[in-house]
Amino acid sequence: MGKIALILALVIVAAATLFLQPEHAGLAIHPMDQFEISPLFGHGDISWYTPTNVTAWMAIAVLCIILLLVVGTRRRAIIPTRTQSIAESAYGFVYKMVEDVAGKDAVGFFPYIMTLFMFIVFANFLGLLPFSFTTTSHIAVTAILAMLVFLTVTIVGFVKNGTAFLGLFWVSSAPLALRPVLAIIELISYFVRPVSHSIRLAGNVMAGHAVIKVFAGFAGALGMFAFLPIFAITAVYALEVLVAFIQAYVFTILTCVYLKDALHPSH
């Protein structure tokens, strides 16, 4: 079945390269156009409430999450169906991560972390569909996600530990003379966290998508030899599938690590 599909795809690619030569085979690469934000209706300015492609793809992500976690588990079967099994695996995966990394007293934050994970993982995977828009490729989105985590962690740290939370910056195991220096470094690294947290996700997703577009542009220019960039696109796409999951995982596990710092600030 897979073999037949592969051969068929190769035949179609070969036929397309032979018969569908572009009228003007120029190098027209617009790798960043896919990230443009446009209103769903009309061409007006984009104000804060305008429904845009961002709205549409976030809504699709919400729909997919509801389909998987609510509709998929509607039977509450002891012996799960395939969809329910996936929902349970996702639940177990994130729950175990929260419990193992952030500690048992962090399970109260599990719905919050699950929300982040499910949103990022679905936004990433939906972004891999052709013609789709990737909401997590925008720094505005990931920065808000990271800032939410940063604020939550900081507030929880101070509420749970009071001023003892500042002990996070005071490395008591280091020699006394070094401690102020370390405190400055720790403080800087603490405030850099949301920056790295957000840029890591948006950067990875955006770079992969842009690379695919660049290769696609080559394919248009190369004519007969278009199969080379098409194979490259396939390879990059496979990598992107990995990245889509891994970046969601990394974002979530870092959230858990930061949460652990907030709940148990001692070094």
Partner: protein
């Protein structure tokens, strides 16, 4: 791709305003390099992201997660129950086997007991019969002995009589008269010897 055609549309087909906007958009994108840095779109993205996150959070915390947790707990309970039941059944099987073995051993000892009892009874009966037979035999033997002794005594008597009368006849025929007393004494002397 969709965006490509969209901007192409804007530039060619639509009115001056749209064209100007599209050109402006392109100029802005070109100057910034990437749509990610078009700060004008930030409020829009942030607003819809917050809406999305709130919706997901509400759906997860109100419906999805409690339901999945309940299902998992129920499954855990079912598995634990089944295991406990299996353990109980196993215990029962072991108990049944023990009872069976016990019954078998009991039956065996009972059988042994009955065999021994019967054997003892038969032995006792046999002993009694043998003793009775022995006694009968002894009685018969004594009776026979007595009869034999009687017969012998009567035979000895007869021999005495015959010897006496024969001796008297012999003495008489020899022409001598013997007195009866002396003959009797002599005969008794001889027969005894």
């Amino acid at each position: 791709m969709a965006n490509d055609t969209h901007s192409a549309d804007t530039e060619t087909a639509h009115g001056a305003v749209d064209a100007a906007h599209g050109a402006a958009g392109h100029a802005e994108a070109a100057s910034a390099g990437m749509p990610q840095l078009e700060f004008a779109t930030f409020p829009n993205q942030i607003f819809w992201l917050m809406v999305t996150l709130v919706v997901i959070y509400l759906v997860l915390s109100r419906v999805a997660l409690p339901r999945i947790a309940a299902v998992l707990a129920e499954r855990q309970g079912t598995i634990a129950n089944d295991l406990a039941q299996a353990e109980e059944l196993k215990q029962k099987a072991v108990a049944a086997e023990e009872a069976y073995n016990q019954a078998l051993a009991d039956a065996r000892t009972e059988a042994h007991r009955i065999v021994a009892e019967t054997k003892a009874e038969i032995q006792a009966d046999l002993d009694a019969e043998i003793a009775k037979a022995d006694a009968e035999i002894a009685a018969k033997a004594a009776e026979s002995e007595k009869a034999i002794a009687e017969i012998r005594a009567s035979a000895v008597e007869s021999v005495h009589e015959v010897a006496k009368s024969t001796a008297a006849e012999i003495v008489g025929s020899l022409g001598m008269s013997g007195d009866a007393k002396a003959i009797e004494a002599a005969v008794a002397e001889r027969v005894k010897g």
